[in-house]
C-alpha cells in the first residue's frame, strides 16, 4: 500500500513541490535538512495544511482532491509532535483517553491498561501533565495517539526536543512500534542516526522536493548517501541478540557472521536489533589476524570498491549472512593489498554500537 501525495505550495521564502507515492510498510522516514519541507509535507498528508490543488490518497481512500477534503478528525491519523502537545487541562489519563473515547468500540485495538504497560505510564496516570519530564510527555503523546487506534501514525521529529539520555529511554518504544501498533508510520527526521535506527524506507528531501525514495538498505549502500553527511559512511546490520557471556558481551547475528556487543539493561536475548558500524571503524585484513586487540573478525567478500572521495575509499563487503559491511580505507591500502571485487578477506570491526 502507498500514500499518494501531489502538492505545490509557495510561501515567501519556501516552496514545496512534491508528487510521490510513499511506501506504507513499517516506518517511512522523511529525511532532510531543516527547512527542506518535510514537516510541511507531513502536515499536507495530515490535512493540517490545506493546500489548494493538492491531492492526497491513502491507499484506496481519497483524502483530498479538488474540492473534496476529508478533515483531519475523520482521517484516523495518529499524530505525535516534536514537543508541547499534551492538553494541559487534562491529566495523563485524560490525555490518553481523549482519542480513545472518540474511537468507536469495535475499532479499538488497544486499551488504557495495555498502553500504560507498554509505555511504562501506569504510575503516572493521575498526574497533571505539567509535572512530567520531557521523555514522559513524549511517551504520553505516543500512547494517546496509539489509543485512538489510528490507520496511520505520523511522527514529526518526536525525538528532536529530547536530550540523549531521554532519547535512549524513548527509543525502545519507537523501534518495533510499527509492529506492535500494526500500522504504517511516517516519521520526519533530520537525524541520520534516528533514520538508521527506525526507518525501513527513506524519502530524501531537499529544498521542497523529493530527491528519491529508497529502502533503508539501498539508501545505506550508496557511499554518497545524504545519511552519511554528518558522521561519515556507516553500515547498519540487523541481527538477533544471544545470551550474555561471562565478560558481559552478547553475540549478535548468526554464528558465521557474529559480532560481540556490550550488554546493558536495554537489550535482551532473542531481540532483533540494529547495529550501526561506522565505515572508518572497519579495517580489512587479508588473513584472520591473531594477537590483535580487536575482537570482531568477520569473513567477508568484497562486493564493490568505490572511487576515492576525499582521500578515502569505501569498500563494500558482503558478510556470510548476506548483509553489507562498509569499510573505509586509503587508496594506498587498496593498492598495497591488491583489493579487488570478489576477493575473500576479513573485516575487523573496532567498535560497535547497538542502536535502539
Amino acid at each position: 500500500m502507498t500514500i499518494h501525495v501531489r502538492a505545490v505550495l509557495r510561501r515567501q521564502d519556501f516552496e514545496l513541490n512534491v508528487e510521490a507515492a510513499l511506501p506504507l510498510s513499517g516506518v517511512t522516514a522523511l529525511f532532510g535538512r531543516s527547512g527542506c519541507g518535510k514537516t510541511t509535507l507531513l502536515r499536507v498528508i495530515a490535512g493540517l495544511e490545506r493546500v489548494r490543488g493538492a491531492e492526497v490518497r491513502f491507499g484506496p481512500l481519497l483524502w483530498q482532491q479538488g474540492r473534496h477534503f476529508v478533515p483531519l478528525h475523520k482521517r484516523r491519523i495518529g499524530l505525535v509532535f516534536q514537543e508541547h502537545s499534551l492538553l494541559p487541562h487534562l491529566s495523563v489519563r485524560g490525555n490518553l483517553l481523549y482519542g480513545y473515547t472518540r474511537t468507536s468500540p469495535e475499532r479499538r485495538r488497544l486499551h488504557l491498561d495495555e498502553a500504560a504497560d507498554l509505555l511504562g505510564l501506569a504510575a503516572l496516570l493521575d498526574r497533571p501533565v505539567d509535572r512530567l519530564s520531557g521523555g514522559q510527555r513524549q511517551r504520553v503523546a505516543l500512547g494517546r495517539a496509539l489509543l485512538s487506534s489510528p490507520d496511520l501514525l505520523l511522527l514529526d521529529e518526536p525525538l528532536a526536543a529530547l536530550d540523549t539520555q531521554t532519547k535512549r529511554e524513548i527509543m525502545p518504544f519507537l523501534s518495533g512500534l510499527a509492529a506492535t501498533a500494526g500500522v504504517p508510520i511516517i516519521m520526519v527526521s533530520h537525524d541520520p542516526g534516528d533514520v538508521e535506527r527506525l526507518a525501513d524506507h527513506v524519502v530524501f528531501m531537499r529544498e521542497g522536493r523529493i530527491d528519491g525514495i529508497a529502502p533503508l538498505r539501498d539508501a545505506l549502500a550508496r557511499p554518497d548517501s545524504p545519511l552519511f553527511v554528518d558522521d561519515g559512511v556507516a553500515s547498519v546490520l540487523e541481527g538477533t541478540l544471544g545470551e550474555t557471556n561471562h565478560l558481559g558481551l552478547r553475540p549478535f547475528g548468526p554464528d558465521e557472521a557474529r559480532l560481540w556487543v556490550p550488554a546493558d539493561h536495554t537489550n535482551r536475548a532473542g531481540q532483533v536489533r540494529r547495529l550501526r558500524i561506522l565505515a572508518r571503524d572497519v579495517s580489512l585484513a587479508l588473513t584472520d589476524p591473531a594477537g590483535i586487540s580487536i575482537n570482531n573478525h568477520l569473513p567477508v567478500v568484497i562486493e564493490r570498491i568505490d572511487r576515492p572521495r576525499d582521500g578515502r575509499v569505501v569498500v563494500a563487503c558482503r558478510m556470510t549472512d548476506g548483509q553489507l559491511l562498509l569499510a573505509e580505507v586509503t587508496p594506498w591500502s587498496v593498492q598495497t593489498l591488491g583489493l579487488r571485487s570478489g576477493q575473500r578477506l576479513f573485516g575487523l570491526v573496532k567498535s560497535v554500537a547497538l542502536m535502539a
Partner: protein, 228 residues
C-alpha cells in the same frame, strides 16, 4: 431602600437587562470573529480588526448618529422592518441593544483574540487528530483553555455597556422602561438639579466599576502567573 425611587429601580432593571443581553449576544458573535482574527490567514483581517476597534476612538455620538439614520423609520434597516410590518428600531430597547452590541464589540473581541492567539494552533490540531470535530474541540479544548479570556471578555462587555451614554442618548432618547438606562437617568437627575439622586446612582456605578476592574486584573494576573 438605599433612598432609590421607583424611577431609579426601573432604570437599574433596564440597565441590567441591556447589559445581560448585550454580553450574551456579544460572546456568541465575538468568539468566531476573534478566532478568525487569531488564526485566519486572510489579509482582510486587519480591516476587520480596525472596524471592530472603531468604537474605541469614535465619539459615541457618531456611532449613535449613523445608527439613528440606519435603524430609523427611513433608514435601510428600519425602513425594511417597517415594510415587512414590523417597527423601526430608533427610540426602542431593541435599538439600543443593537447599538450596545456594536459599541462594546472591541471589549469582547480583544480579550478573546488575545486568549486564542496565546492558545496557538497546537491543542486544536491535537484534538482534531484524536478525532474531535469542530464543536467537540471548542467545548473540550478551546473553552477550558481560554476560559480566562471569556471571563474577562464578559466582564468588560457588561461593565462597558453600563457606562454607555452618548450612543443611547442619540439613538434611544430617554424613554422610561425602554431606553432610560442609568447613565441617562443620572444625566436627567443632574439636569433637574436633583443632585442627591444623581449622587446616589453615580456612587453606586463607581463602586461597581471599581469591582469589575479589580476582578479583571486579578484574573489577568492569575493567568499570567499560571503561564510561567
Amino acid at each position: 431602600m438605599l433612598g432609590l425611587g421607583p424611577e431609579d429601580w426601573q432604570a437599574i432593571e433596564l440597565t441590567l437587562r441591556l447589559c445581560l443581553y448585550t454580553t450574551a449576544i456579544l460572546l456568541v458573535i465575538a468568539t468566531p470573529v476573534a478566532w478568525w482574527l487569531a488564526n485566519g490567514r486572510s489579509t482582510a483581517r486587519v480591516v476587520v480588526q480596525a472596524v471592530v476597534a472603531l468604537p474605541l476612538v469614535l465619539p459615541p455620538t457618531v456611532l449613535g448618529f449613523y445608527l439613528l439614520i440606519v435603524l430609523g423609520p427611513r433608514g435601510f434597516i428600519g425602513g425594511t422592518l417597517e415594510s415587512i410590518g414590523l417597527t423601526h428600531l430608533a427610540f426602542s430597547f431593541e435599538g439600543i441593544l443593537v447599538a450596545s452590541i456594536l459599541y462594546s464589540m472591541p471589549f469582547a473581541v480583544q480579550p478573546l483574540h488575545e486568549a486564542f492567539s496565546n492558545l496557538g494552533r497546537r491543542p486544536v490540531e491535537v484534538a482534531s487528530a484524536l478525532g474531535a470535530g469542530a464543536f467537540d474541540r471548542f467545548v473540550t479544548v478551546i473553552l477550558p483553555l481560554t476560559k480566562g479570556g471569556f471571563v474577562v471578555a464578559a466582564t468588560l462587555t457588561f461593565a462597558h455597556t453600563i457606562g454607555e451614554f452618548g450612543v443611547i442618548l442619540m439613538l434611544g432618547g430617554s424613554i422610561p422602561g425602554e431606553t432610560k438606562v442609568l447613565s441617562v437617568l443620572i444625566y436627567d437627575h443632574a439636569e433637574a438639579m436633583n443632585y442627591d439622586a444623581a449622587h446616589r446612582l453615580s456612587f453606586m456605578l463607581m463602586v461597581f466599576a471599581f469591582l469589575v476592574l479589580f476582578i479583571v486584573y486579578t484574573i489577568n494576573r492569575r493567568f499570567e502567573i499560571a503561564k510561567l
